[in-house]
């Protein structure tokens, strides 16, 4: 019972934290005046010269880093496996952002006029980038935590387990979670679109036009998230097995 209470408390904390965070992101004019932003703005100018992040909102990266670390610490406590999970989340995150920016900059640009909830925002591309960044973070963290704690369990039960066996059983666990995780994301993204689809289709906008014109943002967000989930499996296995193996070796000496 006690553990359950602590769990629900943790969730309330993380929800409050997330709400605060949303206010930060939404209010980024204010955010740019804080001292943290001053520091990042200096580094930002250097980063902005790299083609990959051209036009991106670099402050979001900082928020992602803070957010991942705080959520992981709140949910899992300060352990070795938490550190490993944080590192693998960052690796996966940078990989999918690389894929995202490369495809965004090499293919033809989107028509941001069709974005849902656009309203009076003057920089829709930044918001789209932010959305892509944060929507998949939870799923990636989920996979990373599951795999790293399984790896730690295996190494603790059998400290002399070979790397190949470790990889093998990690992959087995990964297979089991990846399919259902992707379908969780599919349903949360696709089903909310049904009402506006129905309105448009009853006003003689055909189904295919609906997909082509109105939801490319949602589709590409979903695809990026799924790539993140799949990529998280080998990356977190590699990171955590390396991490724990090194630790075991050091303890022996």
């Amino acid at each position: 019972m006690k553990a359950k209470k602590a769990m629900s408390k943790k969730y309330i904390y993380s929800i409050i934290f997330y709400l605060l965070f949303l206010i930060f992101v939404a209010n980024d004019a204010w955010l740019y005046k804080t001292p943290i932003a001053k520091i990042t703005q200096v580094t930002e100018k250097k980063i902005a010269e790299m083609p990959a992040v051209r036009g991106g909102k670099e402050i979001y990266y900082l928020l992602v880093i803070i957010f991942t670390i705080v959520t992981m610490l709140i949910l899992n406590g300060f352990h070795r496996k938490t550190v490993a999970a944080i590192f693998s989340t960052f690796f996966v995150f940078s990989l999918i952002m690389l894929i995202f920016f490369v495809t965004l900059n090499t293919t033809e640009p989107f028509d941001y006029g069709m974005m849902e909830y656009l309203g009076s925002t003057e920089n829709p591309e930044h918001l789209f980038i932010a959305e892509v960044m944060f929507a998949g973070l939870g799923a990636i963290m989920d996979v990373a935590v599951t795999l790293t704690s399984a790896m730690e369990e295996l190494i603790r039960k059998k400290p002399d387990i070979s790397l190949r066996k470790l990889f093998h059983s990690g992959r087995e666990i990964g297979y089991d979670i990846m399919g259902t995780m992707i379908s969780v994301l599919l349903f949360t993204f696709a089903v909310g679109l049904i009402p506006s689809f129905l309105i448009r289709m009853n006003n003689d906008v055909p189904f295919i036009t609906n997909i082509k014109q109105y939801i490319p943002f949602e589709i590409s967000r979903f695809l990026i998230e799924s790539i993140g989930i799949v990529a998280a499996i080998p990356i977190s296995i590699a990171v955590s097995s390396g991490f724990f193996k090194l630790a075991v070796r050091r303890e022996r000496r």
């Binding site: 799923a139 990846m178 995780m181 790539i227």
Partner: protein, 251 residues
């Protein structure tokens, strides 16, 4: 164009990481998307809503659980528990939506340019029932995830220790469920709030005040979807551990 590239990248990743299992995931995904598309088309043509949504839910859970993860005791008991939870949940959601009148498009969706100026909103579809269907289907993915994890964990336990009683199986299922609920809730939280970044920036730009936000339909819809999903996941733990325990000890 970008979407095609991303699909290609996803498929390559799936084949590279998952091999044969990755190919199965791709086909499952395609099947689910097809079912959803057909559902939307049928609903738009004015077919009866509850039978269609129920059929879609059953088909989707059949594809995801049994096609994707093999035809065995684990997946069948997960399937049965998902169906049972859906039945209970849809009644509860229908009652809630009826009381709160929270159906259809929210404030922002209905002031989108094209919707507000060009389209007639007077269509022949009862939007209240659609809202129920939307909440049910959006919870479906999370329910399947939880149910399958619980049943397969209990099944693993039964392989290693055969002489446990029914009650002990149920307890071990609930123990596993406790661990899963945390991460599943986290995933749902991120997925729903990730969508709401645009929404929040819109609200800030539009100078909405707290009173309006708290009273708005859009906040209610978002929270209701999240609450329904999490409730369903919580329900899925005892129900699926009960079913799998019965199946195993009947053997």
């Amino acid at each position: 164009m970008m979407i095609l590239v991303l699909i290609l990248v996803l498929c390559i990743f799936l084949f590279f990481v998952g091999g044969e299992r990755g190919a199965i995931v791709v086909t499952t995904l395609a099947g689910n998307v097809c079912v959803l598309a057909v559902t939307v088309i049928l609903l738009a043509n004015g077919m009866p809503i509850f039978p269609i949504v129920f059929l879609a839910a059953v088909l989707i859970s059949y594809i995801t659980l049994i096609r994707q993860n093999g035809n065995n005791q684990k997946t069948w008991s997960a399937f049965v528990s998902v169906a049972g939870i859906m039945l209970v949940l849809s009644i509860a959601i229908a009652v809630i939506v009826h009381i709160t009148n929270a159906s259809g498009l929210n404030e922002i969706q209905s002031v989108q340019e094209d919707v507000a100026f060009y389209y007639t909103l007077d269509i022949q579809i009862p939007m209240q029932k659609i809202a129920v269907g939307v909440v049910i289907l959006s919870a479906l993915g999370a329910i399947m995830d939880t149910a399958l994890s619980v049943t397969s964990a209990v099944y693993e336990v039964s392989l290693h220790k055969e002489e446990l009683s029914r009650k002990e199986y149920i307890l071990s299922g609930i123990q596993v469920g406790k661990d899963i609920i945390g991460t599943t809730a986290n995933t749902l939280l991120f997925a729903y709030f990730g969508e709401s970044i645009l929404l929040f920036s819109y609200l800030v730009n539009m100078k909405y005040n707290w009173e309006m936000i708290l009273n708005s339909k859009l906040l209610f819809q978002g929270l209701a979807m999240m609450a329904a999903g999490m409730t369903a996941c919580l329900l899925a733990v005892p129900v699926s551990s009960y079913i799998i325990a019965n199946v195993i000890s009947d053997k």
